[in-house]
Symmetry: C2
C-alpha cells in the first residue's frame, strides 16, 4: 500500500517531536527514517528512535556520526547539563550542538536524493523550544534555497522539499496531535542527561512536562515508574 | 607564530584545488584541515590529503563518514566511472555525490564553531569543473545565509565566513598559483578510479591534464612514472 505513495526521509531522534512528525508524514508518504547516533550522552535516544520507527511500520537506517570537536554539553561529559532553562534569558543553552540540524538535514537530503524521495521531514518547532537557531523557520527557509541551488534534483527543477509540519506547534499541540494519531509516547525519550529515568530537571524534561500539563494528559513515561 | 592568526577550518580532499586553497588560507589563518574518508573508491585521496596537510604544517582531523545509500559512481563500485566528460553535454555526471559539499561544509561549520574559528575554506571552482551544482557560487551564497541564520555564531552577528578563494580560477590558474606558493602537486591525487596510477581518462584526470597543459608545466605525478 505504502508503495504507491511518494517516498520521504524522516529525521528521527527518539523524542516526541520527531515521532509526531513521522506519523504526520506517513499519512501521505512512504517513510524512511534516518536516525543519528552522534555520541549524545543520552544513550537511550537511539533505542527510542528505533522503537518509534518500528511502531510506525517504517524502515530506518541508523547512521553513526562523529563530532570529535564536541562543543556542546550534550556531547561532552565534562560539561554539566544546565538544570535551569536558559530560554527565559534569551540565551542559547550549552546543549546547543554546533550545526547539528544543518548536518542532519544535509544527510537527509543526500539520502533523499539517492533514494528518489520527494521530501525530508524534520520535527523542529519554534514555540516551546530551547532557543536553538537551527530550529527556527527562517533557518529552514534559507536551507530550502540552498538545497534548490546545490543539489542535482534542485537544479533540475524537482527540488527535495524540506517539510517542518510542526514548526508552529506548541508542546501541547504536539502531544494532542500525537495522541490523535496513536503515537505511543511511552516509547519516546526526551531527557538530555542520560540516566535510566528522566531527570525531570533539564530543559528537555521541563518542556515535556509543561506540554503534558497543558494538554491535561499524564506522561506515560512517568506513569510507568 | 600561527598562534596570533585567527583560526580557520580548511576542507581538504587530497586534490589540487583544496591543496592550493589551504596554502592561500594559511597566509592569513591558523589552519585546521578537515579530511573526509567517505568511502570514496579512490583510497589514495585520504593519504594524499594527509600528506598535503603535513607539507603545509597544518594540523588535521580525518573524519570517517558513511553514506550507505551511495547514489554515486564514486561510492558504488558496481557503477563505472565515466570515461568521457559529460560536462560538454551540460549534464551532471554520475560521479556527483548527493549533497556532498553540503555535508562537508556543515561539518566544517560545526568544527569551526566548536574551535572558535572565523572561517571555513573550500576549494570549489566553477570554471574548469564537472558541472556539480554544489561547486557554484550561487550555492555558496545561499549556504552563507543558512549559516548566518542557523548557527549560534551566526545569530550573534559573528557568522563563520565561508571562503571560496579559487571559485573563479581555471585549472591553469590553480596550478600557477600553487607553484608560486610552493605547493608540491606530486603529493596530490585527482583520479577518480582508484588504481595505483592515474587512469588518465576520467574527467578528473582530464581536467588536471588540461590545466597542466595550459599552464605549460609537466604534472610531477606523471613525470615520476
Amino acid at each position: 500500500m505504502g508503495k504507491n505513495k511518494p517516498k520521504a526521509v524522516v529525521l528521527l531522534s527518539g523524542g516526541m517531536d520527531s515521532a509526531v512528525t513521522l506519523y504526520i508524514a506517513k499519512k501521505r508518504y512512504d517513510c524512511h527514517a534516518l536516525i543519528f547516533d552522534y555520541g549524545q550522552r543520552s544513550r537511550k535516544e537511539v533505542g527510542s528512535a528505533k522503537a518509534v520507527s518500528r511502531m510506525s511500520g517504517s524502515g530506518h537506517i541508523v547512521l553513526r556520526i562523529s563530532l570529535p570537536w564536541k562543543g556542546s554539553s550534550l556531547l561532552d561529559r565534562n560539561v554539566a547539563i544546565p538544570r535551569e532553562a536558559d530560554m527565559a534569558k534569551g540565551m542559547i543553552p550549552s546543549t546547543y550542538v554546533p550545526a547539528r540540524n544543518l548536518i542532519f538535514l544535509s544527510y537527509g537530503v543526500s539520502y533523499a536524493e539517492a533514494l528518489g524521495a520527494r521530501a525530508v521531514f524534520i520535527g523542529a518547532h519554534q514555540l516551546d523550544y530551547s532557543n536553538y537557531p537551527d530550529c527556527r523557520g527562517e533557518f529552514f527557509d534559507s536551507f530550502r534555497e540552498t538545497v534548490e541551488r546545490g543539489t542535482k534534483r534542485g537544479v533540475s527543477g524537482k527540488s527535495i522539499r524540506i517539510i517542518t509540519p510542526i514548526i508552529n506547534y506548541t508542546k501541547k499541540d504536539i502531544i494532542l496531535s500525537g495522541i490523535s494519531m496513536g503515537v505511543s509516547f511511552a516509547l519516546t525519550w526526551s531527557c538530555y542527561v542520560g540516566g535510566a529515568r528522566p531527570c525531570g530537571e533539564c530543559e528537555s524534561c521541563r518542556l515535556r512536562a509543561k506540554g503534558f500539563k497543558e494538554a491535561g494528559v499524564i506522561d506515560p513515561l512517568l506513569r510507568d515508574r
